[in-house]
Symmetry: C2
Subunit: 213 residues, 2 copies
DNA sequence: ACCGTAACACTAACGGTTAGTTTTTAAGAA
DNA sequence: TTCTTAAAAACTAACCGTTAGTGTTACGGT
C-alpha cells in the first residue's frame, strides 16, 4: 500500500486551497448567487469536475474554514479535565466558538451566509450532523448512565445555543442565558447524578424514573 | 376590482390537488429520486411551469399535508385556556403532532422522507421557520416578561423535541422526557414567574437577573 | 524502466428551476 | 350577447448545479 510521501499530496492540497480561496474571493466580490461554479472553476484554472472532486457542493466551498467545528465540540466533551462536569465544559467551548465567528474578521463571510437561503439551509443541516456526533460523544462519555434521548436533546440544545447566540445582539450574554437553561434541563434529565457547576445544588433527583427507550 | 367568486378558485385548487396527489403517488410507487418533475407534470397533465406556480420546489410536493403544523403550534400557545401554563400546553400539542405523524397510515410518507437527504434537509429548514413563528407567538403571549433569547430557545427546544421524538423507539415517552427537560429550562429562564404544571413546585426564581439584551 | 493509480481534464448530459411569451378561460361591464 | 380584463396555464428555451463516461498526465513504488 502506497505510504503517502510528499509531492502529490502537496499538489492536491494546493489545488484544493486555490479553489477555496478563489471561490471565497469571488463570492465576496460579486455575491454568492451571482457567481457560478463554472466561473469559480475558470478563475481557479481547473475543470468543473476537479472542483467537485474536492468539494461536494457549491455551498461546501464557503464552509471550508469551519471544518473543525465538529471535532472541537466532541473534544470539549471527551477531552475535558477529569471530573469536570459536562455542561460547563460544553458552555465554555460554545462560547469560544461564538466569539470566534462573531469576531470582526469573520463578519463578511457570515454576511454572505446570512444573505443566501441556500447557504443557511446548508449550515443548519451541517449543524444537525454535528449535534448527532456530539450526542454520540456525550452518550459514550456518560457510559450508559443516561438515556440516548436525553443525550441527543442536550446536544441539540447546545447547537441551538450556538446558532441563536450567533444571531443575538449580545452573543456572549445570549449563550450564557441559554446555557443556564440547558444546565437546568440536564439536571432534570439526570436523576442519578450530583449537581455541580454554575447552578446552586438545588433539588437533584426528583424520583421520577426514566421511561423512554 | 373583481371580487373572487367560485369557479376559478375551485379549478385552481383542483389543479393543485391533482398535482400533489399525483406526485405523492408516484413518489411512493417509484421512490422520490426516481421520479422527475417532468414525470409528475406529465402524469398530472399540466405543464412544468404550472407545477412550479403551485409549489415552490420538488420537496414542497411532499410536505403538502403537513401544512398546518405551524399554525397548530402557535395556536397551542395563543389559544390555550386562560391561566394555563405555557409549557404543558406546548407539550400536549407536540405530543398530538408526534402521535399524528407516527400513526400507522403516515408511515410510508415518513419512510419516503427519511430515505431522501434532500427531503430531510428541507424538513429541517421548514421546522426552523416554524420555531421562529413559535418564538414570536411565545414572546407576544408573555408580553415582554421574558427575553427574546429565552423565547427563541424554548421554541427551538420544542421543535427539537418533536423531531427527536419522531425518530425515537418510543416516541411518546421520548417527548415526555424531553419536555421534562424543557420545563426545567423554562423555569430557569423565568425568575419572575410561578412554577406550575407537570413539575413539583420546587425552587422557582433563583434570584438571578436576566442579563442578555 | 515499468506499472499502477491518483489527480485532473473534457465533453455531454441530467434534473430542478426560471424567464419570456402566448394561449386559454373565467368574471364582470357594455 | 359581446367585449374587456386578468388570472391560470401552456410552451419554448434556456440556466445552473451536478454527475457519468472517458481519456490523459505525472507521481510513487517496484
Amino acid at each position: 500500500m502506497p505510504e503517502p510521501s510528499g509531492r502529490r499530496e502537496r499538489k492536491k492540497a494546493a489545488t484544493r486551497q486555490k479553489i477555496a480561496d478563489t471561490a471565497l474571493r469571488l463570492f465576496l466580490e460579486r455575491g454568492y448567487d451571482a457567481v457560478g461554479i463554472r466561473d469559480v472553476a475558470a478563475e481557479a484554472d481547473v475543470a468543473v469536475t476537479t472542483l467537485f472532486s474536492h468539494f461536494a457542493s457549491k455551498e461546501a466551498l464557503v464552509f471550508e474554514q469551519d471544518e473543525d467545528f465538529e471535532q472541537r465540540l466532541t473534544q470539549a466533551v471527551t477531552g475535558r479535565a477529569p471530573h469536570e462536569p459536562l455542561i460547563p465544559a460544553l458552555h465554555r467551548e460554545i462560547q469560544a466558538l461564538v466569539r470566534h465567528c462573531t469576531a470582526d474578521g469573520a463578519a463578511p463571510i457570515w454576511r454572505l451566509i446570512d444573505g443566501s437561503p441556500a447557504l443557511r439551509e446548508y449550515e443548519e443541516s451541517m449543524r444537525l450532523r454535528h449535534a448527532e456526533s456530539l450526542a454520540t460523544a456525550i452518550a459514550a462519555d456518560l457510559d450508559l448512565s443516561q438515556t440516548t434521548t436525553a443525550c441527543r436533546a442536550v446536544a441539540r440544545f447546545a447547537i441551538d445555543a450556538y446558532s441563536l447566540a450567533r444571531e443575538a445582539a449580545d452573543p456572549e450574554a445570549a449563550a450564557d442565558e441559554i446555557f443556564r437553561m440547558i444546565e437546568a434541563a440536564w439536571e432534570a434529565a439526570c436523576p442519578s447524578r450530583r449537581a455541580r457547576g454554575t447552578v446552586p445544588p438545588g433539588r437533584a433527583g426528583a424520583g421520577r424514573a426514566v421511561t423512554s427507550r
